[in-house]
Symmetry: C2
Subunit: 295 residues, 2 copies
């Protein structure tokens, strides 16, 4: 087995992503010699030890990062600024600080300026997930064949970037480097907007009169079900994502609303060709996904 990539890996947060990394580190052995986990509640930490996916747990994030050569922020992005303030004085010189947040410009804004000299900050985003959350939700195959975006600001230490790229490759992920602003626009359309829409349509359906609500549930197999799966995700995580990718999300929502209005107009005026063309585009995109094994 190759040497572990890190001596001590510290995970701040142990939800779906954090606990999946912990499981992979445990299974492979070539990621970290020691895994330390921090979470906000003792209950979560106790559960983490029960699951046997950490060597040590710490309720204090500062204590969790002491002596770590890699620290991964795995909490909701809204908690990053506070976490960064608390851990900054305790980060080891030469350590790599990274994260798994879904919004990258906000992370660079909130965390970047707090990173002490000599610590390397490499923002990252593994693009994989399920609607489940918490330490029990993770699994070692989560990142297999999925992409991880790295968005290091200009001037970031190349050796540190390569270490985080290798961390993700060992987690089974494909790695791509890009600008944080580009990441945020792409994620707005492929992830943040679909979630916003799914949450919204669940509310729209829930507002129907009581006698329809039962049938909404009974007849969900016809499409709605897939939206409710997306909409079952963690509320705090998604609140934070929406608020931290505001500009790109609002732009994509605006584009979508224009397109939906055009579709409404086609339905109202019976423009069959327009509707068929839009449905065909959906099929085309689906085919590309299947060809690239992302579906």
């Amino acid at each position: 087995m190759p040497d572990p990539l890190f001596h001590r890996l510290s995970l701040l947060g142990v939800g779906l992503i954090g606990s999946s990394i912990a499981r992979i580190a445990r299974e492979r052995g070539d990621i970290a010699a020691e895994v330390v986990v921090n979470a906000r509640t003792q209950m979560t930490l106790d559960r983490t030890m029960e699951l046997g996916i950490a060597d040590r747990v710490e309720i204090d994030p500062a204590r969790a990062v002491v002596g770590a050569d890699c620290v991964v922020l795995c909490a909701p992005v809204g908690a990053f600024a506070d976490l960064a303030v608390r851990i900054a004085p305790y980060l080891s010189p030469g350590a790599v600080l990274t994260d798994v947040g879904s919004t990258k410009q906000s992370v660079i804004r909130d965390v970047g300026s707090l990173v002490p000299a000599g610590v390397h900050f490499v923002p990252a985003h593994p693009i994989a997930g399920t609607e489940h959350s918490g330490p029990d939700a993770g699994f070692a195959e989560l990142f297999q064949g999925r992409w991880t975006a790295l968005t290091p600001p200009p001037g970031t230490d190349e050796a540190a970037i390569e270490k985080i790229a290798e961390l993700w490759r060992r987690c089974g992920s494909l790695v791509e480097r890009m600008e944080a602003s580009h990441h945020d626009r792409v994620l707005a359309i492929v992830s943040h907007l679909p979630h916003l829409i799914a949450f919204t349509i669940c509310g729209t359906a829930d507002d129907l009169a009581d006698e329809s609500r039962q049938e909404v549930v009974n007849f969900a197999a016809s499409g709605f079900r897939d939206f409710t799966r997306i909409a079952a995700s963690d509320p705090v995580m998604w609140r934070d994502i929406f608020l931290n990718n505001r500009e790109a999300l609002l732009e994509m929502l605006q584009r979508f609303m224009e397109d939906a209005q055009a579709m409404a107009r086609a339905v109202r005026w019976g423009d069959a060709a327009y509707i068929e063309d839009k449905v065909e585009r959906g099929r085309k995109i689906r085919r590309s996904l299947i060809e690239r094994k992302q579906a």
Copy 2:
């Protein structure tokens, strides 16, 4: 084994729904002594015989219904008026004519007036499906535990209604009777609107500049993927559904757009409590689905 429900069952159309009924009839033996299948192309009919799911195939719908005591319209709803004109003179007295269309007021409007005296017309809609289409897409478990809505107009023969209810129970479905207008409103929110939204967002994503499109595909695991699954459905079927449930669909789309605008406003002004509340509603609906085993 109980006696077959029908002597000769005639399926006009053999896509996902029609071919699933044919498979069930073949497996169970207590649905029909003989299954006759009609489709628009000889290729589809040849494939149906190859699959061994029909006793006989007929390219002419009129010939397909001769002597049948149950005729099921399984084509896209836009084709129903034409089919009804062609088969009406050949329907046997006492036969039950039914359908599987996703819009029920339009079916009553297009087909109801053409049904000869002595033939019983029982509109129905099995609320189950996948994104696949064609005779190969069907499977015998499709309707298991799913609901079928029956929307017979006032005055419909009760014995005929009961026969169609029993047909669907033998297909594994739960049966519920309701007004056609009520059906169309509920389906607009649980099925037609989600499909319209999924088709639309695929187009919105496809309109992004070329350099982003590759990443849209690579990063689809983050939510978009579920939308593309819905959006992979048959274009002609969905065009017909949208155009035949126009009023209810436009009303639900209008409600949804208002709700999406309210969500956009909350994102713009940082109304965290509003966003969390909407996400929580999505989770609540998802839980009801899981409790009722529709997810």
